[in-house]
């Protein structure tokens, strides 16, 4: 015997070590340098599967029924083959859904059903009761075996005479306290408990090491190896050995029993709540599964390698297989090796403690989330909720452990460890159909899962749990032998007369028969809700998240909820700092509008995020309910968007309907060039296809006003007469200015007052304004669509379709307006050309008239020959010359130049001519003519801002005397016969139209025979060549000199030709006129 104080001390030291490890692991986790995040730790933590059952019970089983103990470990080893596709899928699903437990997992899959979550929780609590009882029994028995005192007894307890509790009470108390400290410090249960995992991994090392030490001690120190033990056993009791090393025919070791055990253990490794917790929820990375797949079976192999030798050794040493459950302890004790016994005790304690810790934490989480939470969330959320919840979880842990204590008190004495454990395995097997079906069968539904699991549980309860109570003698009943109410066919272990099976196979058969049967039948017969289908897709298609998912949001919130509202809600359940941390993760770089909300299409995502975050603490079902009830409170709810495209959305980007509408729209655009027809047809198409009550197209006009161009719908609506100046206070203005579709899915929640009034007056439920704009260009108008019946009409794909139609329309508008602009320009040009032609024609007429006003031919005067011409630079000009015959021998010659050569100049020239014609008969001298002319024309010239240069000469052919006066005109040139140079005839006199009264000098010049007189205007001498050089008087003189003997006509033509040649390509800038007089 070892002293109780010693065992207490060692136990406390060991617990302290575990705490230290857990503390370090938690600390490292907070620092972000996780030590548990590696495949070896992960595999070791899965080894929580090896409990007291393995440590003590396997040897007991091996010593009584033989080799079949091994099946409990071969099953999980085989299952490891499936982890590659099965466990990894579960892990992926739990990570994506923030799953907190097995109950959460199952309820999530079946539409977040609270009932299902609660059912799984109840089955877990009831089912696990024997398993925890087993651990408590093992720990307390071990304590009493090793110390000789019952359950964690200390000597001083005698002195204070505590009421002696049942064995296992202190074990339960210690283990429960232990679990609370490790597993219920934080509320967020989807978070990994690194401290717990680290402690479990350490315990796995301790129990393996302890068992190997005992095994090696027994096999190689007490005996001479494996062969020796088998040999001695054969010699001692060959019949018993044969029984132990083969599978026999009696029910306990029949093939059926073996396979039942194999399947039970295969189910247990996946579906026991604590295995699920450790393998899926506490899993740090999917990658670790690969290594754990062979590390975990190896662990199982190692911890079982010495089971047979210890069992046979125990039989050899103690002489029988009585109390063989504790051979691991009794062999070292009997052979006097107390230290080895102490190590074995520590291993056993490790095995039990690990299991109880994980199991109780797991189940209390379930209890909290699926039984307590559904009640709590019906209450008004309060600030002390997080506090309440965490304490509820702690109470839950104690409850779970003490239920186990209660069970082991009743049944503990009757059943062997393994027998108790297998009852729990059979309960865990009830989860298999729902989980497997849930992960691989889309049709599997809530009704099937609930009914199947419930029937399976009832059968298990009736065929396994009740018989265990009866056999223990706790409940006296004869239903085992004669059935309830004397109905023999209802005997719990021979249900419906099924005999010849061991109780495990019998129970497993019937429970799974009802479970699977109901699951399949109801899944096929009853429909799935939409929510269930969505969840099913999330689970089954977890590796292909895009497949089967609607490409667009199909839900909307009827009333928008702000981020702040959601944060406040979250804070009530998970605490304020956590809520803020979570939401800032979510917001990231998403767009937030001025009211602190996200876009309508983003809202359902936000809602799902809130649910997922809450699910990390409350479980998916409760989280869903919390959010739903909150939304109901503020008058919002999740509703399906109106499915405008009647066909079910496929993975294709557009439904057939959308394609059809696009096609029709482009037909409309291409069919006509008339914008009015295009718009009208397009609106009719929209109205027909999408059941709008009103569609309006407004185009912006030159003043920037959105003017109604086309509409469909009732004629006498005021709204169709509204032309808008685009401003931010209306939705239409906002759409136009921001060039972004504006839509309101529910006009009850409109914030723009102006819009609200209009929509209320017209009874419009939802509407959208889509800018008519080509890619990358400002909008040219707005397409507005209104519905008076449908709320939530505008979905992302629908708006995209409308925008694309508006884009097409913008193209049409652009093409039409471009064409119109071109047409207008062409017409303007044409009109200008026409006008020009008319002016030219008029000018041509004016030219003819003007030319006709000049003398038709030079006068016929004896002794003088004349030539004259006028070449206007443009159509009409300001040059003028004339002859007045005064008598037989006298002629007046006038040459004048009105400044400029415009029509004005021409008119003045005409006036001058008329005045001159009137004045000439009244005057006698040249200077007199000029003076009176100046006086008469002064007013008109001043008004027209014109002036006239004029040279007036009177020639008497008889005396060959030339009398002349000059009003600022170019002096005429005289080339005397044989002279070397020209003479300029000049006289004093101011240009006409400068002063009212001017006196003109009159001069005389005696001409001789052969003299040439040239009167000309400045158009000749001021003609420029390309170099800017003037023609000049000298060149003119030279021509006169060279042609002194020629006829005046020829001279005139020569002068014209020379001037034209001199100017070259430059057009004449001024009119050219000249009179050439030759004296004979």
């Amino acid at each position: 015997m070892v002293s109780a104080e010693m065992v207490w001390g060692i136990s406390l030291l060991y617990i302290a070590l575990l705490f230290l490890v857990a503390y370090l692991a938690d600390k490292r986790q907070r620092e972000g340098r996780s030590i548990t995040s590696n495949a070896v730790i992960y595999a070791l933590s899965i080894a929580v599967y090896a409990t007291s059952w393995t440590f003590y019970g396997s040897v007991g089983k091996a010593a009584t029924t033989g080799m079949d103990f091994i099946l409990t470990y071969l099953g999980p080893s085989l299952t490891a083959f499936s982890w590659w596709f099965f466990l990894r899928k579960i892990i992926r699903v739990t990570k994506e859904n923030n799953t907190t437990s097995l109950a959460d997992f199952i309820s999530s899959r079946y539409g977040k059903s609270q009932w299902l979550g609660a059912l799984v929780t109840i089955i877990s609590i009831m089912g696990i009761m024997p398993y925890i009882g087993l651990q408590l029994k093992a720990v307390s028995s071990a304590f009493s075996i090793i110390t000789g005192h019952p359950d964690f007894h200390l000597r001083f307890m005698d002195s204070i005479s505590l009421p002696s509790p049942h064995p296992g009470f202190f074990s339960a108390l210690i283990l429960a306290a232990f679990s609370v400290i490790f597993g219920a410090r934080h509320l967020v249960s989807s978070e990994r408990h690194e401290g717990l995992v680290a402690a479990i991994a350490l315990e796995s090392i301790v129990k393996l090491a302890a068992f190997l030490i005992v095994g090696i001690f027994v096999t190689y120190f007490l005996f001479d190896g494996f062969g020796d033990i088998f040999q001695r056993m054969y010699e001692k009791n060959p019949i018993m050995l044969e029984h132990l090393i083969t599978f026999g025919d009696e029910p306990e070791t029949s093939y059926t029993a073996l396979f039942t055990m194999l399947y039970l253990s295969m189910g247990a490794i996946m579906f026991l709540p604590r295995q699920f917790q450790i393998m899926a929820i506490e899993n740090p990375s999917e990658k670790h599964v690969t290594k754990a797949m062979w590390l975990f079976p190896l662990y199982m192999f190692l911890i079982n390698i010495f089971v047979m030798p210890i069992a046979l050794g125990g039989i050899l040493i103690t002489g029988s297989n009585l109390n063989s459950d504790y051979f691991v302890l009794t062999i070292p004790l009997q052979t006097g090796n107390h230290w080895i016994a102490l190590i074995a005790y520590l291993g056993g304690f490790s095995a039990a403690a690990g299991m109880v810790m994980v199991e109780s934490v797991t189940i209390s989480t379930m209890l909290l989330n699926h039984v307590i939470m559904p009640i709590v969330i019906r209450l008004e959320p309060r600030s002390w909720f997080p506090e309440l919840l965490i304490n509820a979880k702690r109470v839950g842990i104690f409850l779970v452990v003490f239920l186990g204590y209660f069970y082991q008190n009743i049944v503990g004495g009757t059943y062997m460890l393994v027998t108790m454990g297998l009852i729990s395995f059979a309960a865990a097997a009830q989860f298999a159909p729902a989980v497997l079906g849930g992960l691989y069968w889309h049709r599997g539904n809530k009704a099937g899962a609930i009914t199947g699991m419930f029937l399976g549980f009832l059968t298990w309860f009736y065929t396994l749990l009740i018989p265990s109570f009866i056999r223990s003698g706790w409940w006296h009943s004869d239903i085992m032998t004669s059935g309830p109410f004397g109905l023999g066919f209802l005997r719990p272990t021979q249900l419906f007369g099924l005999t010849g099976f061991d109780m495990w196979s019998h129970s497993l058969f019937w429970s799974l028969f009802f479970n699977v049967g109901a699951y399949l039948l109801l899944s096929i017969l009853t429909p799935q809700e939409e929510k269930e289908q969505e969840q099913a897709r999330k689970f089954i298609d977890v590796f292909t998240p895009d497949r089967g998912k609607a490409p667009y949001e199909t839900k909307r919130l009827s009333k928008p909820v702000t981020i702040l509202q959601f944060v406040n809600l979250m804070a009530k359940f998970i605490g304020e700092p956590q809520a803020h941390a979570a939401i800032s993760d979510y917001i990231g770089n998403r767009e937030i509008d001025s009211q602190g909300g996200v876009s309508e299409f983003e809202l359902p995502n936000l809602k799902r995020f809130i649910e997922k975050t809450l699910a990390g603490s409350l479980g998916a079902a409760a989280a869903g309910a919390v959010v739903e009830s909150y939304l109901t409170d503020i008058g919002s709810k999740m509703e399906s968007v109106y499915d405008i495209f009647s066909t079910v959305r496929t993975s294709l980007d557009q439904s057939r309907e959308a394609l059809f509408v696009r096609l029709r729209a482009s037909e409309i655009m291409n069919r006509s060039l008339d914008l009015e027809i295009i718009m009208k047809d397009l609106l009719e198409l929209l109205q027909k296809e999408f059941k709008f009550d009103l569609c309006i197209i407004r185009l912006v006009n030159e003043e920037g006003i959105l003017t109604v161009h086309a509409f469909t719908g009732p004629e006498d609506q005021q709204i169709t007469r509204n032309n808008w100046v685009p401003e931010i206070d209306t939705h239409i203005g906002e759409a136009f200015l921001s060039n972004r579709a504006e839509f309101v899915n529910d006009t009850r929640y409109l914030t723009k007052q102006k819009s609200r009034e209009i929509m209320e007056r017209e009874g419009i439920k939802s509407f959208a304004h889509i800018p008519i704009a080509s890619e990358g260009e400002p909008p040219v108008g707005i397409l507005s669509v209104f519905s008076k019946s449908i709320i939530g009409l505008f979905t992302e794909p629908f708006l995209q379709l409308l925008s694309s139609l508006a884009g097409q329309l913008a193209q049409a508008v652009k093409i039409v307006s471009e064409r119109e602009a071109k047409e207008k320009e062409r017409q303007q040009k044409e009109a200008a050309l026409l006008e020009n032609a008319r002016v030219v024609r008029d000018m041509e007429i004016a030219k003819q008239i003007q030319l006709s006003l000049l003398p038709a031919s030079p006068p016929d005067l004896p002794g003088a020959r004349f030539a004259s011409c006028c070449v206007p630079a443009t159509h009409v000009g300001g040059d003028y010359y004339d002859f007045f015959i005064r008598g037989k021998e006298t002629v007046d010659l006038i040459i004048a130049d009105v400044s400029g050569h415009s029509v004005g100049a021409a008119l003045i020239m005409v006036e001058t001519r008329s005045v001159l014609r009137a004045q000439v008969p009244l005057t006698t001298s040249s200077s007199e003519v000029l003076a009176s002319l100046n006086d008469l024309l002064y007013e008109d010239l001043t008004r027209a801002e014109l002036f006239i240069t004029m040279f007036y000469a009177n020639y008497d052919a008889g005396s060959k005397l030339l009398r002349y006066a000059n009003a600022g005109h170019n002096p005429p040139l005289i080339m005397g016969k044989g002279a070397a140079a020209c003479i300029e005839l000049d006289a004093e006199g101011l240009i006409l139209g400068i002063n009212r009264t001017v006196s003109f000098e009159e001069k005389l010049f005696q001409l001789h025979e052969g003299d040439l007189v040239l009167f000309y205007t400045d158009g000749i001498i001021e003609a420029q060549n390309e170099g800017g050089e003037l023609f000049g008087v000298d060149r003119l003189c030279l021509i006169l000199k060279n042609m002194a003997l020629e006829e005046p006509d020829r001279i005139m033509r020569r002068v014209l030709a020379e001037v034209t040649r001199f100017a070259g390509s430059k057009p004449l800038e001024d009119d050219i006129s000249m009179i050439i007089m030759r004296i004979d």
Partner: protein
């Protein structure tokens, strides 16, 4: 390695897991196990004991080999690891 080859590889791997899983169950079941369910002794060990223990070891080794093969096949391509799972 082309995408196709990778895909084929992954598929092949996943199927071989299922095959070995089923094979394991068959070898643990009647009638297969009855071949070894005899009170014979081989090298001083009971036949059934030897069969189960050796079979177990071999199965662990097979898993080990598979995960190794899979690991090298997926090396440098971790993001696609097991997308077919």
């Amino acid at each position: 390695m082309t995408l196709k080859a990778l895909l084929l590889k992954s598929l092949r791997t996943r199927e071989s897991w299922v095959i070995f899983f089923v094979l394991g169950i068959i070898m643990m079941n009647y009638p297969f196990i009855s071949i070894f369910n005899k009170p014979l002794s081989v090298l001083g060990f009971p036949l059934l004991y030897l069969y189960l223990q050796l079979g177990w070891l071999i199965s662990i080794f097979v898993i080990y080999l598979f995960t190794k093969a899979n690991h090298s096949a997926n090396k440098g391509n971790d993001s696609h690891k097991g997308e077919q799972g």
